[in-house]
């Protein structure tokens, strides 16, 4: 009998699922009985999940094993070498931290939705809250999944929910199209993930994350030559085959976490309601990809080539997306590209061996990005659903709560000390630097990540100044719509967190002063041996270098990234913090056009779908109708023609038929035999 918070763990995901059922069923059959269109059950359920998650986290901390693991058999395998398929719950420091983040953001998003959806007179609220509930439930189940298969299943359900919510306003043409794109692009990634899951089963006979029979442990033993034996395929040795598996699983990560080249769905997903964007970007769908890498870090850490690729993709995506964020007109578009870029940093951190750093950034980003989206939502309410920043300006005086909260989030996003994003992003870059000093590939990834800091500072503050500073540029901006408590409370909570969450892991300060300030590091070291940060640190295939001394390296890394962030923000301040800003990015000329069109990545993918796949399908259809069916019809017209002649042998005498039947059999067999060369 496990402790009570562990016994209650299934309820963490079950509560939002119940709120989904309530919103769905009551909403369909007795909508009047549903308070606030389903918001109240949703808030209660997610609040309950939050309480249970915190309780579980405390219990994990106090537990001697540092974790709780329990599973049931979903499908039992039959036969000699068959494996069971399991559902299980794994509560360890990483998963409970993520559970707290997800349920916290979910409850705040629910509260915020009261202002964004209910107060704005939306119809279809039960459907909205049902979607939110299912989304939260799927994500929470994904987070505490104890094996790769279960993780995949809820990973896919998260995708379904994103489809439901991005396409919430289905009466307009845009949202259904964006929803389709989001599901399809992530499905493309999930295809590789599923092949990976099946491959892991075929290789190890298990997909468990934890325990002596878990696949990361087995892989470690195999590579260390310690007796465990596995089946590899395609004639590859274990190292190469494991890398293939790692890359396959990575496909799902790249799709969900919107990394290059599967990032294209995410900006389109802005068609969904803004609270949904907050949920998707901060805590659920996009976070799922990076979380998965962290979850099976013990496996990835064994694969140096895959790690290097993760770092490169991450660094490249961070820079690539940040440049596109510079020229966007709409506030949510800027945030969308910033999300892609920030998840790039997390991937860079993971690939560079910075498990704690990346997890740290995952946490701080969840707070400040949820904050920025909800802040943007508040601005959008005020602007009567106009999202164009060039129609705003001067909102600072009219909505001070939103402004200061948004500013806190922006400082965190740009990475300005002492806001949370500074500490986490700096740690990511620090890890990339020290390992990059010994590995040119990592150094290249680090350089891209570093350069992106400048752009991040620039686009973030361009957004802040255009939205809140200067003179109002339209009548709506002069007289914005007021927002209520249900909007302000989530902003205040998240604004505070965005400012202070970084204090849990102040590596540079710790290095300089010698005071122990790496609480997150301690937390992530508290779990079972094989899932701890220092175990991963032992596994990673990198050597560390330094510039001068360790202290100098830390200070240099922090100083350079802070300097770049400040210069980006400063450039934005010079250009845009004026009463009547002008479109400076127009001076970029053709570069702007390329950036504005996202390097024509979308065009390329649309061309792949509409210009290649669809025509190919039509050719196949023509071939099918013309050739294959043509042969069938041709045979039948030949037989109809000859049938007229052959009619004469229809004697009606059964023995004749029997004779013909037997002859036919003989002729057929002889024919097959001769053509098949069996004689």
């Amino acid at each position: 009998m496990a402790a009570l918070p562990f016994e209650l763990a299934p309820a963490i995901a079950a509560l939002p699922f119940v709120s989904f059922l309530i919103a769905l069923l009551v909403g369909a059959f007795a909508p009047r009985l549903l308070p606030k269109g389903g918001a109240i059950p949703g808030i209660l359920a997610t609040a309950g999940s939050l309480v249970l998650s915190v309780w579980a986290a405390v219990a994990v901390w106090n537990h001697p094993d540092g974790m709780y693991h329990d599973s049931i058999t979903w499908v039992a395998g039959v036969g000699d070498a068959a494996f069971d398929l399991q559902f299980g719950i794994l509560l360890d420091p990483l998963s409970t931290m993520m559970l707290v983040i997800v349920s916290l953001v979910a409850v705040l998003v629910h509260v915020f939705s009261l202002g964004y959806m209910n107060d704005e007179g939306e119809t279809g609220l039960p459907r909205y809250y049902a979607g939110l509930g299912l989304f939260t439930a799927s994500m929470l189940s994904f987070v505490f999944a104890s094996n790769l298969l279960m993780a995949f299943m809820f990973f896919e359900l998260v995708g379904l929910c994103s489809w439901l919510l991005i396409g919430f306003w289905f009466r307009e043409p845009g949202p259904p199209s964006a929803a389709k794109k989001a599901f399809l692009v992530t499905r493309f990634g999930d295809y590789f993930f599923l092949v990976g899951v099946v491959g892991v089963f075929a290789t190890f006979g298990t997909t468990a994350f934890v325990g002596s029979e878990s696949f990361p442990i087995l892989a470690d033993q195999v590579l260390a030559g310690e007796g465990a034996s596995v089946t590899t395929f395609l004639g590859l040795d274990p190292q190469a085959w494991f890398s293939v598996l790692g890359l396959l699983i990575l496909g799902g990560v790249i799709g969900k976490s919107a990394q290059f080249p599967l990032h294209t769905w995410l900006p389109d997903a802005m068609e969904g309601p803004t609270p949904v964007s907050a949920l998707i970007h901060a805590a659920t769908m996009v976070a799922a990809g990076v979380y998965l890498v962290a979850r099976i870090y013990g496996f990835y850490a064994l694969l140096p080539q895959v790690m290097a690729l993760i770092a490169l993709v991450g660094g490249f995506t961070a820079l690539f997306a940040a440049t596109m964020g510079v020229v966007k007109r709409e506030i949510k578009q800027v945030l969308a590209y910033s999300t892609i870029s920030q998840y790039g940093y997390m991937m860079l951190g993971l690939g560079a061996g910075g498990y704690v750093a990346a997890t740290f950034h995952l946490m701080t980003h969840a707070f400040f990005k949820a904050l920025l989206f909800l802040g943007a939502g508040s601005v959008i309410i005020a602007m009567h659903h106009n999202e164009n920043m060039w129609d705003m300006g001067g909102l600072k005086e009219k909505m001070p709560v939103t402004y200061y909260a948004f500013l806190s989030g922006s400082l965190a996003l740009a990475g300005i000390v002492p806001f949370s994003g500074f500490w986490s992003k700096d740690e990511v870059l620090y890890e990339a630097l020290v390992h990059g000093l010994e590995s040119p590939i990592l150094l290249a990834a680090y350089a891209m990540g570093l350069l992106a800091v400048f752009f991040t500072g620039f686009y973030t503050f361009r957004m802040v100044f255009l939205t809140f500073h200067g003179k109002p540029r339209t009548d709506t901006a002069r007289d914005p719509h007021a927002v209520g408590w249900n909007v302000k409370v989530p902003l205040v909570v998240l604004g505070t967190l965005a400012a202070v969450a970084g204090l849990v892991n102040m590596v540079p300060v710790a290095e300089v002063t010698g005071i122990h300030l790496e609480f997150l590091h301690d937390w992530l070291d508290a779990g079972p041996e094989a899932l701890t940060a220092h175990h991963y640190a032992d596994l990673i295939p990198y050597a560390s270098g330094e510039i001068g001394s360790p202290l100098l390296t830390v200070l240099l890394s922090a100083g350079v990234s802070l300097g770049l962030a400040l210069s980006g923000a400063g450039a934005a301040w010079l250009l845009y913090d004026v009463p009547e800003p002008i479109r400076h990015t127009d001076r970029l000329g053709r570069v702007k056009t390329v950036l504005f069109n996202n390097y024509y990545q979308d065009e390329f993918q649309v061309w792949l779908a509409n210009g290649v796949t669809l025509p190919l399908a039509r050719v196949a259809d023509k071939f099918d109708q013309g050739v294959i069916d043509g042969v069938v019809n041709g045979v039948s017209s030949v037989s109809l023609f000859s049938g007229g002649r052959i009619k004469r042998i229809q004697t009606g005498v059964v023995s004749n038929y029997a004779f013909l039947l037997t002859m036919g059999l003989v002729v057929l067999l002889v024919f097959i035999g001769v053509t098949g060369g069996w004689f």
């Binding site: 369909a28 039959v78 036969g79 068959a82 399809l184 099946v198 669809l614 039509r618 039948s636 035999g673």
Partner: protein
Amino acid sequence: MWIEALIAVTLASAAVVFLAPNKVAGKLAFVLSLLPVGGSLWMYSTYEASGNALLEGSTLAFETNYQWVVAGPYSLNWHVGLDGISMPLIALTTVLTSLALLASWTPIQERQSQFYGLMLFLEASLLGVFSALDFFVWFVFWEMVLVPMYVLIGVWGGPRRKYAAIKMFVYTNIASLALFIGFVALVFGLGDSVTTFDMPTVAQALRAGELGSLGPIGPETLKVAAFVAMFVGFAVKVPVVPFHTWLPDAHVEAPTPVSIMLAGVLLKMGTYALLRFNFTMLPDVAQANAQLIAIFAVVSVLYGAMLALAQTDLKRIVAYSSVSSMGYVILGLVAYTVYGMGGATFQMVAHGLISGLMFMAVGVIYNTTHTRMVSDMSGLASKMPFTVAVFVAGAFGYMGLPLMAGFAAELFIFLGSFGAFEGSVLFTAAAMFGIVIVAGYLLLAMQRTLFGPFELETDYEVGPAAFHDVAPLVVLILLVILLGVDPNIFFGMIQDAVNPIAAATGGGA
């Protein structure tokens, strides 16, 4: 005696409905069809059997076996019984028929008593196909299925119904001839040791290597030739590319309830027979040619999905997607593992429910809009939200969303086939790409027809569908979710029945 009672009650119901007045035929047929549903559920709840019906060491459920006709040295037996492969299919047949009857109330407006009578007759024949264990009895039922199907399409079908009905009839009949010859040749090849068409006897003799020469043809050649003849015969029914072109024509012309039966149950006759005959009786031939069969499977999956992508008629989209889904079944069968073959069997049930659901949903839309062309409509969600909600749920089921039956089935197949034979890793990975294309064409079709601003090319009033149209959809979606959450409802018995086949060929996983 339960199987006999099941078939007899269904046949008697067919006769009663056939003679009933048109007005009450629909309701009467539905109520009477609940008898076999209840019967099959009762049989499921008391089901006790182990092993595979055709192999030694098995115990069958509800078995009867007695000598029926003696002709010379040969005897024909009335041999019926159920194992873990046929039990789920019996349940599927009865449930789906009842729901299809309910879905007929709106579209079938003339000669109702004949229509409903034939539907019940079809059900009885299908029950026979899935329970018969004597080749002769089985073949009679197999051919009996074609008769009502031919009439149902030819009389109540669309504008080109005659072409479609004749094409289906002739095509599948030629296929039947091929499989008949193939099987009979095997029995003759076994010589004097086997003087019956009893399927277990034949299967065990063949697996024991007792096949001799037939005239000048040696046993190895005979085996391969018979395998090819039977494979082609069943492949038409499945249908496996390139024998599939009768299917879209038949679907497009058939009325909704007939499409439901066609996709939901009739196609499974082909895969069921492949499993029973080719893959159980001649495993060495199948395994020796695993790559070739896998190519048929992969081509069916990908090519079928590409064809679905090219269609502009909702019903054709669903029709071609069946080709794709049934390709997975072939892949699972050729794997010769418990997960693979079990997954294939599970997919027969899962796809039966899901494709039935999709055809039913398309039918409900057609009933109200009188068009099935994707370009003719958009934004139906605002007019018929409930139908659209179920359509969406069904479509995601078709895409293999986790916790729905299709996912479990496909997952089992992939788990079973990955690494099962030489080259299987690449074949499996290639076939799995079908899950991306299926999402592509279904999402695209839904985006265009269900969402966006409401527009409709026809002049019909669009409103919510009737209760008896929507109720079967809801029942189906609940079943799909139920089986997806707990596949053991059927998968346990399926594993038990396919394990002897897999174990004997060395693949245990």
